[in-house]
């Protein structure tokens, strides 16, 4: 992918009619030819996890892949795809080939412009310092990270104000030693805060309730992100979903009922966020079993920490299979909002799959691709789009892997090969790909907001590290533009400074650099 120079144009007034029926994208499976061969393996200790992350580890502007293997070694795949061509990857010896890996999140911890990696493991977690050209070395000792010894399944990161080093949140699951009575044995989650240019001893996030997804997100646009934690009710006692204040110089503390927080107890498994209703505040999708949640702020005028569930009203529950004859309830894992048909509306992919062989839940559980309609509701299109696979899916990633402006798809399945699809949609819709950079620290501008003006509204997305199911994306973000051939874009940087609106020509990738 080639980055283009920025244009500085005024946005012309425009109005384009929105169609009610979304364009159904076409995905072509290229698992057999793409060179991505990995199996997330393991028994009970690996029933969760199975993350995949996308990031550019060799500075060629193409997203590479790191995929957890469970009892198999984790693997890194270097992207060899040509722009607009078939997906092509080469497995590379990178230093991440460790067993016991449930997930991986790329993050430039030391802000040297080279991405590092956090490996979530069954056992000691590991930070891997990026050496460039997709090589990594263990850095726990050098960076003072206590990797612990737990069943780590969730991750999120932020740069707290005034810090040159990130704060990492690691979510832990069950005490693996408890075989007869594992329920109620949730291991404490950890907050690894900075101590200069290394990590201090972790702060336990008490109480912890078997986290499966975490996300630092500025839900109320206060300028300071909070930590949302999705917890698996299967294993906690007295638990619930959580939202933590993580404010500079202060101990983390939970949002309370007095602040509007409402108790929610679900099988919280994966988190995704996006400003779906263009009000400036993110909505949150939380995967669960039989009952996924789409939460929106209930009282934007007061900014109380109350969220209401609109999944039912928006047609985004995805509670049971939509193909086949197995109509038992679904089990949802990774969730991700991306615009897969470039119509200017974020769509939702959900990876589905039975925990193992639970007969109360669907055994053939197709992954979902929910297309957003102009009225904000969603329409299932996974089967028509060609991605309704029924493996025991866990992690997934939507990313433009071949620089054609269309979001491709990687899905990790438990005990079965990873699957990969090229988005081959024939469409006249336009797009933008934007990569943010700023001077150290926090070179990838985690916590920034990108705004893209559309006809009558503004698309907004927050730059985050975390969420999903044990994996996420670092680097470029993608916007569909519909029939707009250009769009005004600006960045609100993590320090709150607002960049100037800039007119960008569609169908290109841009690097937006903070002055």
């Amino acid at each position: 992918m080639k980055y283009l120079a920025l244009g500085l144009l005024l946005l012309p007034a425009a109005a384009v009619a929105e169609t009610a029926a979304p364009l159904v994208p076409s995905f072509t499976e290229q698992t057999a030819t793409a060179g991505v061969r990995q199996i997330y393996a393991g028994d009970w200790e690996y029933m969760v996890g199975g993350g995949v992350s996308t990031f550019d580890c060799n500075a060629d502007a193409r997203p590479d892949l790191i995929i957890a293997g469970g009892t198999n070694p984790a693997k890194l795949f270097v992207n060899q795809s040509t722009p607009g061509g078939d997906l092509a990857f080469t497995e590379a010896q990178s230093g991440v080939e460790q067993t016991g890996v449930l997930g991986a999140y790329p993050i430039d911890i030391d802000s040297d412009g080279v991405p590092d990696i956090v490996l979530l493991r069954q056992g000691e977690n590991q930070v891997m310092r990026g050496l460039g050209n997709c090589k990594f070395e263990p850095a726990n000792a050098a960076w003072g990270l206590d990797g612990g010894n737990a069943w780590s399944a969730a991750f999120a990161a932020t740069w707290e104000k005034g810090q040159s080093w990130p704060t990492l949140a690691i979510g832990n699951y069950i005490d693996v030693t408890q075989d007869m009575f594992p329920w109620g044995s949730c291991t404490d989650n950890w907050l690894h805060r900075p101590d200069g240019d290394k990590f201090a001893a972790p702060t336990p996030l008490k109480p912890s309730f078997c986290a499966l997804s975490m996300l630092f997100s500025d839900w109320n646009r206060s300028g300071t992100p909070s930590l949302r934690v999705a917890n698996d009710r299967e294993y906690y006692k007295g638990g619930q979903e959580q939202l933590w204040h993580v404010e500079p110089g202060q101990d983390p503390r939970l949002y309370t009922e007095a602040e509007g927080w409402k108790r929610l107890r679900i099988w919280g498994m994966g988190l995704a966020s996006y400003d779906l209703n263009f009000d400036g505040y993110p909505e949150y999708f939380v995967t669960s079993m039989a009952d996924n949640k789409l939460q929106t702020m209930a009282n934007p005028e007061t900014k109380s920490a109350t969220f209401k569930d609109v999944a039912f009203a928006k047609g985004a529950i995805a509670q049971r299979p939509y193909t086949g004859t197995d109509l038992n309830p679904s089990t949802g894992w990774h969730a991700q909002f991306e615009d897969v048909n470039n119509d200017g509306l974020a769509d939702l992919f959900i990876a589905k799959g039975n925990v193992d062989a639970m007969p109360d839940f669907a055994l053939k559980d197709p992954n979902n691709l929910l297309l957003q309609r102009p009225d904000g509701t969603f329409q299932e299109a996974g089967d028509r789009a060609g991605v309704a696979a029924t493996g025991l899916s866990r992690g997934a990633a939507l990313a433009d892997l071949n620089a054609d402006g269309l979001m491709d798809l990687v899905v990790v399945n438990r005990r079965e090969p990873v699957q990969i699809w090229r988005n081959t949609t024939k469409s006249a819709n336009h797009w933008l790909t934007l990569t943010l950079t700023q001077p150290a620290p926090n070179t990838d501008a985690i916590g920034a907001w990108v705004e893209v003006k559309m006809h009558g509204h503004t698309q907004r997305r927050e730059i985050t590290i975390g969420g999903g199911q044990a994996g996420g994306n670092l680097g470029a973000v993608h916007f569909g533009l519909g029939d707009q051939q250009q769009a005004e874009v600006r960045v609100i940087w993590p320090d709150g400074s607002e960049g100037a609106w800039q007119m960008l020509t569609a169908d290109a990738a841009y690097r937006l650099q903070k002055p």
Binding site: M180, F181, P182, W183, R233, E234, K237, M358, D360
Partner: protein, 432 residues
């Protein structure tokens, strides 16, 4: 006293809820240890809504009781309860009663919780293997084999018995795939935003074969107040009571509502709550295994039959929930304290089964039997003290009004319905 002596009044060395395995050495310990696991499986298996859980408790209790009763002059339930034929005879020879119980319960748990998830499966296997190995230490091989074979035979007999009661096959967590709502303002409508719960839970459950209650003639709760939106009507008055109470709830009333909330998947469910109470008493008092199994069998049968009676009326009356009525007639912004269950309102299931449980347990342990209830201690909810079982049942019933999910008539008539169900259980002859 030999550690395996039957009917030994052991001061059980393990403590609920921690239950260290190394201390599980007596038949009573074995029984309580397995039941401790069962409470977890009920909580963590999606099928186990309250009626389904009550059914499992019924069969589990019968299996445990019959396996022990055959070594004594206690009476079998065969011929007394609906459809149960004579149990397999106990072959001659020596037995280890802990191993008999271990065999019957490991098989029964696998039967009734076979659809639990991988963690439950792992826990069942660990309990079966580790507890079995512990109990087998020092026991002659022939005795161990004979005990295991007999326990298995009893469990399989009960499993066969269970298959014909109408509740054996539960799909989609008990929710019909399709459902047509009855038209009319008094009828139930979904109150949940969960798609699965747009149909009522287990609408056919009221036709199941009960254990002791006469087949086809469930104990009726009696008619609820006639539906009306007239402020002078009894129905409106009961709705206003729910509404006004919700506005003035004291901290204690909120605590009571939450203590008896017993939500599926977040607790051992309402029937599991009463099983938990019973286990705490059995442990506290060091009750011998036969008496403990008798109590658990009676309780399990009672709460199972109570749900059948209650569900028969639920589908018959098909009454709307307070949240539906109050939002429509009184205050469209109103929200109850508790999550409204996804099925018809009248009568209250918790009240009916609590009425039955109180009736049965009062017969087993005696009137005026005081106890502390620490069922939810692991969830950080403080124990509560009750002067007797009826006091606990009364509190469970009123908790549904405090929680905003039932009108008073459903609670009070449910309690009476449960007590009537309990009388059938109390008429059964078991221990001499």
């Amino acid at each position: 006293m030999h550690r395996r002596q039957f009917l030994a009044l052991t001061g059980a060395a393990f403590a609920l809820p921690s239950l260290p395995l190394h201390a599980a050495t007596t038949p009573s310990d074995t029984l309580l240890t397995w039941y401790k696991l069962v409470l977890e499986l009920v909580r963590h298996t999606a099928t186990y809504s309250p009626p389904v859980a009550a059914r499992a408790f019924g069969y589990m209790g019968i299996a445990a009781y019959e396996s022990l009763a055959s070594a004594t002059n206690a009476r079998s339930l065969a011929g007394q309860i609906n459809g149960l034929t004579a149990l397999p005879p106990r072959p001659a020879g020596a037995y280890d009663e802990s191993l008999v119980l271990h065999a019957v319960l490991s098989e029964a748990v696998e039967t009734f919780f076979g659809n639990t998830g991988p963690t439950g499966q792992r826990a069942m296997a660990a309990m079966r293997d580790k507890l079995g190995a512990k109990l087998s230490q020092g026991v002659a091989d022939d005795i161990a084999a004979r005990s295991a074979a007999y326990g298995l035979a009893v469990a399989q007999h009960i499993e066969d018995y269970s298959k014909s009661d109408g509740g054996h096959d539960v799909q989609n967590m008990g929710f019909p795939m399709q459902w047509t709502l009855q038209k009319g303002p008094e009828y139930w409508v979904p109150t949940s935003l969960i798609v699965q719960q747009q149909a009522p839970l287990l609408p056919e459950w009221g036709t199941n074969r009960p254990f002791a209650m006469p087949v086809g003639a469930p104990c009726p709760a009696g008619d609820p107040p006639a539906y009306s939106e007239d402020p002078a009507s009894e129905f409106y008055k009961q709705a206003i009571e729910v509404y006004e109470t919700s506005k003035t709830l004291t901290d204690d009333q909120k605590a009571i509502a939450r203590f008896w909330s017993d939500d599926p998947m977040l607790s051992p469910t309402p029937p599991g709550h009463w099983v938990s109470i019973t286990l705490q008493i059995l442990h506290r008092d060091g009750t011998d295994a036969l008496h403990a199994a008798d109590a658990l069998a009676r309780l399990g049968m009672g709460i199972n039959d109570a749900f059948i009676a209650c569900w028969s009326d639920k589908i018959h009356y098909n009454r709307l929930r307070p949240v539906t009525y109050i939002k429509r007639v009184i205050d469209k912004t109103w929200e109850p304290l508790l999550i409204t269950p996804p099925f018809a309102e009248y009568p209250s299931g918790h009240s009916t089964q609590s009425g039955a449980a109180a009736s049965v347990l009062a017969q087993v342990f005696g009137q005026g039997f005081a106890f502390d209830d620490a069922t939810h201690a692991d969830d950080g909810i403080a124990p509560r003290h009750y002067a007797d079982f009826n006091a606990a049942a009364q509190e469970a019933a009123i908790s549904r009004l405090y929680g905003g999910i039932h009108f008073r008539a459903a609670n009070e008539n449910g309690l009476r319905q449960g007590a009537e169900v309990g009388s059938y259980i109390n008429a059964l002859k078991t221990l001499a």
